[in-house]
Symmetry: C2
Subunit: 234 residues, 2 copies
């Protein structure tokens, strides 16, 4: 059975985004996935990377976060909350993020999950990025709410393209960067201003989307074949 | 005298990013700015938006973050740490962010500063975005470190354009969105692998950059004249 890790960032049990997470869980479970959860607000996850993450220091005189992530993971001295999250990611075949879009990114509690959990060495390295990234072979997707109308994004929208523009940092620069195959996310627009029947239909559309996730488009990531050993363009 | 607010996100006193913040402070002070600081790690700033930010609830039955931000700011019941930060932003003519780039974004502690401080109503609204945003008339810039070589970004780089591509969420989608005039940031590449003289020169270049910040290029934001009252393209 494939395993799905659902990483969720909303403080409210009765929010639409939490209902999205619950529908995705039901749908993936029905299609034969084992589920693991990281409900970041419920866990009280600490998103702030700091020297407290490191039980010992490879270099006690000067801190370089990425080097200490490598040193501490290998020495078994990385903070236990991070070791647990890294283990969950490694177990997962599919990772699904659910969150309200804040400032064209994930809420800080989820941004810090990437900052602290996606450690140098295991997830990526100088040359091990994109298709060579440490999480190659896994899939990732997302479902998020967005506080604007659908026609405000895209080629003719005021904000420009969403997934390939404003959110490139997340889909290419984070999930794709560590090697995951990134499936186009599901977007719920302008939810607080929608009547109940529109919100119900949105959850039904979400179920249908995740029931057949493998057929959905992938987000292109840079093809390493076009770049040389120092990532110079060939 | 113009006032500059320096918003800083690094845990270490002796980090290169902190040295960048200090150089910017010296330079702006020498060119006649009054300085205000938000040193987020030093302040122990909490980046996690939650119902705890709201002293009372406009709607006790269902939480919509943006609506409660408006309600609580107007009622004088927003969390005091947020009121203080909002006041600093309003006092500032120029805002400068200093941070290490993590996952093509700001560290979670700074992402959460936007999530919690840039409140609906005061900073932006349904139609009050970009040049009509609540912070119109202010300028913003940034100086950040990036863990890759300079040739890995840009039109021919493997990650594509940096400021206008991967970081569009920050410069257009956050600082530009609330109406600030956004000046191209200063980028320090691959610092942990540079010899001391290169790091010294980088700080000197940074001083020169901020000594003459007003002459630097602006980041284009969408021109509202091209869009109708519902932000449809004209």
């Amino acid at each position: 059975m494939p395993t799905a890790l659902l990483v969720h960032a909303h403080s409210e049990r009765d929010s639409f985004v939490t209902a999205m997470r619950d529908r995705i869980a039901e749908t993936l479970s029905a299609s034969g996935h084992d589920l693991i959860h990281s409900d970041l607000y419920e866990m009280g996850f600490n998103p702030v990377l700091s020297p407290m993450d490191f039980g010992e220091r490879g270099n006690p005189d000067h801190l370089v976060y990425a080097l200490e992530q490598r040193h501490n993971f290998n020495a078994g001295t990385l903070a236990p909350d991070l070791v647990a999250e890294i283990e969950k990611v490694k177990q997962a075949d599919l990772i699904v993020l659910t969150f309200p879009l804040f400032w064209f990114g994930t809420p800080a509690i989820m941004k810090g999950w990437f900052d602290r959990v996606f450690i140098s060495g295991e997830f990526y390295g100088g040359k091990t990025i994109y298709e060579r990234g440490g999480m190659a072979g896994k899939k990732a997707s997302a479902a998020f709410s967005l506080g604007g109308r659908e026609d405000m994004v895209g080629a003719r929208g005021i904000h420009g393209p969403l997934v390939h523009g404003m959110l490139r940092h997340l889909f290419q620069g984070t999930l794709g960067y560590v090697g995951m195959e990134v499936i186009e996310p599901f977007v719920a627009h302008n939810i607080p201003y929608q009547p109940l029947e529109v919100r119900r239909k949105c959850l039904d559309d979400l179920s249908a989307y995740f029931a057949d996730l493998d057929s959905k488009p992938r987000i292109p990531i840079p093809d390493l074949a076009n770049f040389g050993p120092r990532f110079e363009q060939l």
